[in-house]
């Protein structure tokens, strides 16, 4: 007889002895705290959203209003800010929809893809913020450089200030890269701890069907 059939025969015949839990035991379990990764994903994702929304509203409002003397640029910045809120609302909507679709009664593969999809929404929001931050930074730089040269006008002054400005730019660039580094590390950790097993199992399921 084949090995697996031997195993099956034994499995079926064997009296799998387990401590029999009473209804009282089970009642107590119903309302205890869950240690599901879905719960953790929700908490972490909400914190991420809050943090990013908080940061983006900080730098978009205060620093930029000061940057430009031109009305049009100020107006443009206002519009971008409002659009940004719209984008945030869309992301939150998709996140909520994806989170709600996570179901333990779906197939194993479907459940995994639902969870990964939900995380992807947050990840995309982070990317969006990084890109927006990068673009805003470049934009602010251009505006600042243009306006200061308009005001001063003198070649001498411009030379002096260029040195300082370049220093500032380099410093802020380094800071920006450090931020990126911190983000990257954070995500590696997050995926490493929380989702490593899920990814591994999901890849295996995908491989079976290739």
């Amino acid at each position: 007889m084949e090995e697996l059939d031997k195993l099956k025969r034994d499995w079926q015949q064997r009296d799998h002895k387990f401590p029999s839990l009473t209804e009282q035991d089970l009642y107590k379990m119903l309302h205890r705290k869950s240690s599901s990764i879905v719960k953790w994903i929700l908490i972490i994702s909400l914190l991420e959203f809050l943090l990013l929304v908080g940061i983006s509203s900080c730098y978009s409002f205060d620093s930029f209003k000061q940057i430009s003397k031109h009305r049009e640029i100020e107006a443009a910045i206002e519009i971008v800010n409002y659009l940004n809120f719209g984008v945030i609302a869309i992301f939150i909507y998709f996140f909520y929809k994806n989170y709600k679709s996570i179901s333990t009664t779906a197939s194993t593969k479907k459940l995994m893809s639902q969870i990964l999809h939900t995380r992807k929404t947050v990840r995309n929001y982070v990317y969006y913020n990084l890109i927006l931050a990068g673009l805003s930074f470049i934009f602010a730089l251009i505006v600042a450089l243009n306006e200061s040269s308009e005001v001063k006008g003198l070649q001498q002054d411009l030379n002096e200030h260029v040195y300082l400005k370049v220093m500032m730019v380099v410093l802020i660039l380094i800071l920006f890269l450090v931020f990126l580094g911190v983000f990257w590390l954070y995500y590696k950790l997050l995926y490493g701890i929380l989702l490593k097993r899920l990814y591994k199992n999901y890849e295996e399921l995908k491989k079976i069907d290739q």
């Binding site: 090995e3 195993l7 009664t105 779906a106 593969k109 479907k110 199992n201």
Partner: protein
């Protein structure tokens, strides 16, 4: 209303608890983790119970939720077994045949070393589920479920007869 639902759920779960126990034993290495996972599966089953329409059997539905919880949702890492947990499996049956018993022991140990997904596949097979149900539960095609099963059979053969 909810009290009645709770009662109904607990009754069903108590009657079918062995399914959950078997899965816990499969995916944990000591009694504490076993109890922990049982707890988590109970919570997940209860969460999903209101949507359980009864158009399938409670047991069939429970297999899915319990496996999903053990494989995907359960968060706590399993500690190293302080006692050789597998030894608990191999209580000598009637008509004790040493060679057969040894082979069975090795089979169970091999079963234990399979990946999360392969364990689920073999477990459902041992529980006498057909390939249609196995493939539906895991989310793979029936053809490929058989292919993978054949590969596992080969793996087991090699492990038993080195």
């Amino acid at each position: 209303m909810s009290k009645e639902l709770e009662e109904l759920f607990v009754q069903q779960l108590r009657a079918n608890q062995n399914i959950v126990h078997k899965i816990c034993r499969l995916y944990t290495r000591d009694q504490e983790a076993h109890n922990d996972l049982f707890q988590e599966i109970t919570i997940q089953l209860w969460k999903a119970f209101p949507q359980f329409r009864g158009d399938s059997k409670f047991s069939t539905w429970a297999y899915r939720v319990a496996l999903n919880t053990a494989i995907t949702l359960y968060r706590k890492s399993t500690k190293m077994a302080t006692v050789a947990f597998e030894a608990n499996w191999h209580l000598p049956q009637e008509d004790y045949n040493f060679e057969e018993e040894e082979q069975l022991k090795r089979l169970y140990e091999a079963f234990y070393t399979l990946s999360d997904i392969e364990k689920a596949l073999v477990f459902l097979y041992l529980e006498d589920k057909d390939y249609a149900e196995i493939s539906e539960t895991l989310g793979i095609s029936e053809v490929n479920a058989r292919v993978r099963m054949n590969r596992i059979k080969g793996k087991l053969k090699k492990l038993i007869n080195p």
